[in-house]
Symmetry: D2
Subunit: 406 residues, 4 copies
């Protein structure tokens, strides 16, 4: 074992990370600092304090990061209309860089030389935590117990608890679910259990954040979202902070059966996995943002954003938030958002969030040009001939030289 | 007027293109050949024969192109998961290259030196028709009456009809709608009328191909789509031709309120326009194709497809189907589809088409690797450490040299 | 003729644009304002004053724009390592946006409602001037005489001069060349004449800015370029303004036979054309900038820059400097240049500019890691195994399922 | 040690890989099969037979792969104008996939369960060998001695030789160089020694394949390259096989001081390294291929190729030749080469390879359109107005709405 004096652990207060506290103390003979954050997962974080104390932890950090998470991570990501592999809204991925940053900041504050987390050796989260940590503190030691220890089954874990007097009620309720779950302000995810068969449909009682479309109200809900420079600043005319916006839209979306997703995705570590996600607010935000951009973005910047988006999504999914390439892409994206302001009206109904209206003082939509009616010179239809002829020129030359076009 | 002897006209049988027949005969003093195609627009094409005869047309082409359209245009496009500007399924765009190709082939058969169409000077369709025509026959003369004549209002058109004895019942019923509409096997589109205000919600009675989500059945419909090399070959186990597949999915989608879209898009000719679309079958096909790919495509080819897709969509939207760049992109896309075979199970319910299962003999999903349970060596979790450390190396070096990462 | 009161003309003082002054006065019965700029073309601009006066022009603008050109156009472009179609350094393209901007600013100052230029209807320059003008003043009227008048041959032009008492010695010397030439601080271009046969080698006496490699000194010249945030700020330790840098490197390059280029390029208006270019300084700058970036840029931002570069080059070549997409790309590029500082040492010899050394305080090169010798833990070679194994995982799974890899 | 019965080793016949033979036999107690290939490195391969026999190897493979290497690897790569990070012609990278493929094929023939190579744990080559091996035989065991053993210095290696009776004259001459070198048909590379200081200029006596530009002939050499579908098939009219083409161009280039490169590059394993390369033939081929494409490729496919090239280069550099993404990109690239046929004339002179002429029966260059002289209707200059106006429309609308363009 390398020489570690103090380690900051991302501590949920649940059974697994409680075992890690003990295991770190014992294996590395080091002090453990716990860090527990409210990032909107919908569970109390304060109970983690007593649990940590029980485990002999002296430095305990418990923080409400919901607003920072929404403002500095979720919002910038939605400016890019980010989707991974055409479907996934990156709910888990986007929370990791903030945790990594706080782990490192706390390590610096407490003089710790290592950080630790409870992510397994097969998933993306270990990568996201550790890339972030290394980027922010290159000499940090990272301890990933799931890659090191031999507590590789539930039985062994429970035996370890008994041996070390770790109260089993540390086990959070959600762990009794057959699914591996993870939640934050933006989404809740489900993996494992019957989902490991990609042909099997998820059971209705798995979903926790939304009613089924069938159980949603028979009347649609309309909602108006106000944008300022790419970000939502008000709902139905009421100004809100970013994290309030996401919470409110989660409620509205969840009530209307919106945001369920069932996909097979490609992990950065190389295998495919099947996951189910509920992202009620994010699903609304994605469509609404595209709608306000449809009025206010220039065509070519919109298309360029679309071409860059898959790369940007991959960067975040793979854990490279704290990287020069992410900052470079963000600079391009943010440059386009200066005029992305206005209001989008959406209809929420039994699983669908559809755009039904959009308006903006910065709108580039020009009725007088787009109209099919007579117009007075704003657009000369005869220009189209030259436009087409010169655009066709290269094709005509090629065809004239006998090139086959089909 | 330049010297034109014979012109092939894309003739719908409706009032506008009937006026064009007459106007071409009169203005250019030339023979007109009409070409009317069933590309799944849902209207009889045979009546166009009598109408054309009434107008003095001697060479009349009436064809059923539904299968060619589905097989050679719609299907290849869906292999790419093509969407324009994040929303539009390119229903209009994808039909134009086939029409252009037939216009030119008929011109070659009949010895015509020109082609003509009824698209306006403000839209994308003129571009798509003409780029295709020039690419396939570089010396062809193109006549676009709407860019030339002065019949620029409905009143003038009607006066022209009266003057030239064109029966007004040539006006198809759909033209009585306040909307400008266009339909084919893949979709129906609506523009104009109150849609010219992007804040105004489309009226329920505008939509023709789908019931509203509210009016759709209270019970979901499940459907299984069989893929072979990227293309759907059977529905619920029943083998079908491509055009039957699209028709069947249009029915299933339309019955369940699926496929309505309301967007502001950027036209190639430079302005924004607002359009509403119904693409019931296509909306199902898009999600299903992504689902079968999620099992069968390698991660990196999937990501590369996603990066190329916006360009491919732009190429089609702008009218460059018959171009070297489309063939180049198609070659890349088709290369990836060899193993895209299997079955996708979807749930259709009140406006939503959701994937609930997927399976494939060519699946790259490996339960034994993805599982959270113990595994016997298929994947060594310790490998993750090296993977992360080397991926982090460039970030660590930069941080070690004092580069700020945030 | 539409109603034009006053027009600002990009006036070189040569014969062609002198004819345009007269033709505008006569055809449009309007006042002409001339604008003549020194952008480093190597000809006196002051003589244009007397010529314009002779032609009856009252408002005459003559300006030295060399520094603005180098600082705000050439330098930002070189930050992106910009090359069009793998070869062309965009010497002509990059000068047009500045001319367009000044034309519009002068139009605003003088109350002119139109601008005019001497570019032909076949080239890229008309597009670049006019896109810039429209982007900066959307209602401006653009007059492009070469697309309008019938003075389409040298004979007709000379006849017009005689008729209108335009002194023929207005014809600048360079026009006696068989080539169409254009020069500015960054380069000189040659088109036409025997170059219209792409198999014909350019004649030695065509080239004006560089000696032939054969005639260059037998001893190499070494030069050191100091970079600060992506821009050259000193040569051989001597601080210089941007335009002085380019001039100095033109001299050094030209003396050593560097910067000749002979290509066939694709014009935006649709045809291929053959051009020869001399860009002595720019050719040195391109390689030197890549060299300083090789030390100071992160790998992923460097690769992303390379992927975006062709698009950025196309945007500039096609005339879209004044566009949202250029600003978006520039934001991404500039974001990466914060640490691109240091010194590059180059060897100039008989046509070649080769990098022989580079150093930087912001270097990311780490001898202790890159070395082949023993090292003390900075890099653990065993990490490579995990790195490779996880990167190979998707390929192994595919091969294990029988996918062919070749 | 895991259970290995027989291992196929990439054996150069030099000292290092001879040590590996012995080390494998001893450490793994397994049989070793040696594989030595002539891929144009310019050294005899036959002597490797006796050396292997001396070491007790029973199955010895010695093969001439020059033609396969040139035809199936070098040629396809040059169709894409491939350059890594703007400079590097991928000489080392492109040879590895072929070695990996033969290692696996021989493993299959001889019933071996493992492969081994002499690449270190810090470089790219280990990745390239192993990714290829895993892709082609997913269950293969890979042994990378440099990542495992403790013979980490020259002294330890020599001691091992003495201990195990390995004749020291196995040490090939090139190993006496202070540089780490690697050569094949396409190039020779140099790393290490004084090159580890990126500010230090390489010494003249390091270079082995080319004379210095200073020492090259005072008269230029002209050469004509004939292309057929993207590949060179003849030099100066004389038909040649691919590997003869590369050899001939290496000779011509080397004699004229062409192809030296001195760069800092970003390795896939995360650090920067400085390398010098001589690629005489490849440097000529790159420019010539661009020249024949400049005549024969459509603009848009050319630009798309340029946008894809950096990705394709990265794929090869990182070792993913045997991957779906490489095949996907290759399909796109090869689709464009059907008409890339003709002749390019080049001038070779003291370090520079410049294009001075190009011709093709499939040329898309049209003098009648490109000319500055009067033309008879092939191109109507008035079309340019409409072309520009519609392309400017989105910019005008934005400016008209008060958007700032600068």
């Amino acid at each position: 074992m390398s020489d570690v004096k103090k380690v900051v652990l991302a501590y949920s207060g649940g059974l697994d990370t409680s075992v890690i506290v003990k295991w770190l103390q014992e294996t590395y003979n080091c002090e453990v600092v716990t860090f527990t954050a409210d990032i909107g997962q919908g569970e109390e974080v304060e109970p983690a304090r007593t649990k940590a104390q029980t485990l002999g932890v002296k430095e305990i950090y418990i923080e409400d990061l919901r607003e920072e998470f929404a403002r500095d991570y979720v919002y910038p990501m939605f400016r890019a209309n980010t989707i991974y592999e055409g479907e996934y809204l990156l709910g888990t991925s986007i929370a990791r860089p903030l945790i990594a940053k706080r782990l490192i900041e706390i390590a610096n504050e407490t003089g710790a030389d290592a950080i630790s987390h409870g992510a397994t050796g097969k998933g993306n989260d270990q990568v996201r935590f550790e890339l972030g940590a290394y980027a922010l503190k290159p000499g940090v030691k990272v301890i990933a117990p799931w890659r090191e220890w031999d507590l590789t089954s539930r039985e062994k874990l429970m035996a370890y608890c008994e041996q070390h007097d770790i109260p089993v009620d540390f086990s959070s309720k959600k762990k009794k679910s057959p699914y591996s779950m993870d939640a934050n302000l933006l989404h809740i995810s489900y993996e494992g259990g019957i989902l490991e068969d990609p042909w099997a449909e998820a059971e209705e009682d798995m979903w926790r954040w939304s009613v089924s479309p069938e159980a949603a109200p028979d009347q649609p809900t309309y909602v108006e979202l106000t944008y300022d420079q790419g970000d939502i600043t008000a709902i139905d005319g009421q100004a809100m902070q970013p994290h309030e916006v996401v919470e409110k839209l989660n409620k509205l979306g969840g009530d209307n059966g919106i945001g369920r997703l069932d996909i097979v995705e490609n992990r950065y570590v190389g295998m495919k996995s099947r996951g189910c996600y509920e992202t009620p607010g994010g699903s609304i935000m994605l469509r609404a943002h595209r709608a306000i951009e449809s009025l206010t973005l220039d065509r070519e910047e919109a298309h360029l954003k679309d071409e860059l988006m898959p790369k940007y999504a991959e960067v975040i999914y793979n854990g490279y938030w704290w990287s020069p390439e992410r900052r470079m892409l963000q600079a391009a994206i943010d440059e386009t958002q200066k005029n992305v302001s206005g209001v989008v009206r959406m209809k929420l109904y039994k699983g669908s969030a559809t755009v039904v209206g959009r308006k903006s003082d910065a709108s580039l939509f020009d009725e007088s040009i787009a109209t099919f009616e007579d117009d007075a010179g704003a657009y000369d239809q005869k220009d189209a001939e030259g436009f087409i002829k010169l655009n066709a020129l290269r094709l005509r030359i090629a065809a004239g030289k006998g090139r086959k076009q089909s």
